[in-house]
Amino acid sequence: MKVCLPYSRKKRYLTGIDWVVLTLNQMTRRAGYPGNSSQIVLELAGGFSVDRFQSSIRDFCALFPLLYGRPARCWNLAPYWRAPSSTAREKPPRVEVHYLPENASRDDVMDVLTKAVNAPFLSPRDHLAFHVVFAGQAKCFLGMTFDHGLLDAGGAETFLDLFQSWQSQTGFEERYRQIAFTEPAHLCNWRRRFDAGRGVGNLMRALSHSKPCSLPLPSGSNSFRFRLIHFSSEESAAILDAAEREAGYLLLTPYLLSRFIYHLQAVFKARQALAPEHLISVSVDHRTAEAAARDVFFNHMSFLFFRVPSGIADDHDRVIHILKQQMYEQAKSRFSHNLADASMLMRILPLSVFSHLRQVVLKGNFATFGFSAIGSCSFTSPRFMDADVLNLFHMPLIPVPPGLGFIVTRYGDRLNAAIPYLDGMLTREEADGLARQVRESLVAGSGH
């Protein structure tokens, strides 16, 4: 007998982490910034037909009604994503085309992409926008700006890979069938979630007593700036080798953080604004490659928090040791899983109340910066719209506060890093110096 469970593609329940992400969006917007969104950029050899891309992306997006959805609350009080039943009357995502002169520099391209990611979405049902930047005959860039309420970084990579698979007619239907469009309401296992909440509450209490370094939020600005660091295949291999030598096999995260903290500490020292410790909020993705193919939409990550005393920030070995210890302790206590579990309870709170509560609980002690290291890239196609893909990198907006981040991503055998910061938070010299020093120190390996 065939059993059919009732579900609707018009309604996808939001998890606790989705609710946290929407809360961060609310906080960032309230601070006057575009929101909790990001941009994934494909660097392509040559160009492609914009008309064909526009019609393809319109038809492709029509397959996913949830791209036109918005958060709502169900009769059982669980929040959900309300998607239209049909996309026939929906406006397709915006595609903007920018032509730069033949002699345009990479900085010119980055200026366009920076403006693109800083442009707020036009309506609450708008979650995607595309920007095509033609920089002469040799190269073009495709930027997909996306709302983190709908896609996380890994999901955005998979979405573009799915588009390429649909466009080139290579196995799309099989992949489409695998996508999970629904999610249960998770109105069960209350005791487990309350127990998880107790563990999370303990850490939050500890964090509320911390005295983290923080750069003041600039006034009169409402946008982000970026410093992007690209590494060649050889440089990336050297970084991975150095990470293995200094931190251990597969332990890239503590190695990268030790380098960034060292150079960021110099900024605080120069400003004479050093506080007792650096507090780092780290987003971790528990999704496997198989799960990434299924869980394309919404958020499937969680968070860890690391604390590094300023007094030892100049000593790489000690910083790596303390970060490894904290990673281990938080993995042992299942903190990131508990946070995902406990945050299910917080869905009862309206976003404005949740964001206010977060500020009260942490007593205004927000992280010094946000960090994320995205593992293997989910965009695996070597071509996009018949153009060779040269590189793929991310330009995320970091929730405000702290409005400063260090993000490392991987495309094939190449690493890319981004330092997003609020316009005015760092001076041009500080931002340039930080990016240059981080690059030099990572490429040089064990040297400072």
């Binding site: 109105l187 069960c188 296992n189 209350w190 005791r191 487990r192 309350f194 127990d195 909440g197 107790r198 999370v200 509450g201 303990n202 939050m204 209490r205 509320s208 293995e244 931190a247 251990g248 096999y249 597969l250 332990l251 890239l252 995260t253 503590p254 971790v284 528990h286 496997t288 490659a289 198989e290 799960a291 860890l304 490894k324 210890q325 990673m327 281990y328 993995a331 042992k332 299942r334 990131s336 899983h337 579990d341 406990a342 309870l345 509560l357 009260v360 609980v361 290291a373 593992g375 293997s376």
Partner: protein, 124 residues
């Protein structure tokens, strides 16, 4: 502080309310409980079987799809996944390997990791 108090009160409330669904008996810990402190000495093959099961659980794949000689990074294990494996080893075999050198030679494949663990286990 507020969140801690709120959680404590909610916890007290939850203890007097009936869960809507049966609790997960393993409390999300998978099969960790049944293997904690092995009663019989384990050889490398038995350690390898347990590690394969755990890594399959972390990767959400079937254990028989995991090759024991495949490098962990090629399986899609990242920093956090690797630390979770080390935590599993501590909970299961009472060995804390985080403080060891964590060099590729001993940690890069399930077979090498199993050999390293079984070597460090106390003799029967």
């Amino acid at each position: 502080m507020l969140a801690g108090n709120a959680f404590d009160s909610l916890l007290r409330f939850a203890k007097y309310s009936t869960p809507l669904q049966r609790e997960d008996p393993s409390n999300g810990q998978g099969d960790m409980k049944d293997v904690n402190t092995p009663e019989q000495p384990l050889d490398a093959a038995a350690v390898q079987a347990r590690l394969t099961r755990e890594i399959a659980a972390i990767l959400a794949v079937k254990p028989d799809t995991i090759k024991p000689d495949a490098p962990l990074h090629s399986l899609g294990i990242d920093s956090m996944g690797f630390v979770e494996i080390l935590v599993f080893i501590e909970k299961t075999f009472n060995l804390n390997l985080m403080e060891s050198g964590l060099d590729r030679q001993h940690f890069s494949t399930i077979r090498a990791l199993a050999a390293c663990v079984s070597e460090k286990l106390p003799a029967p």
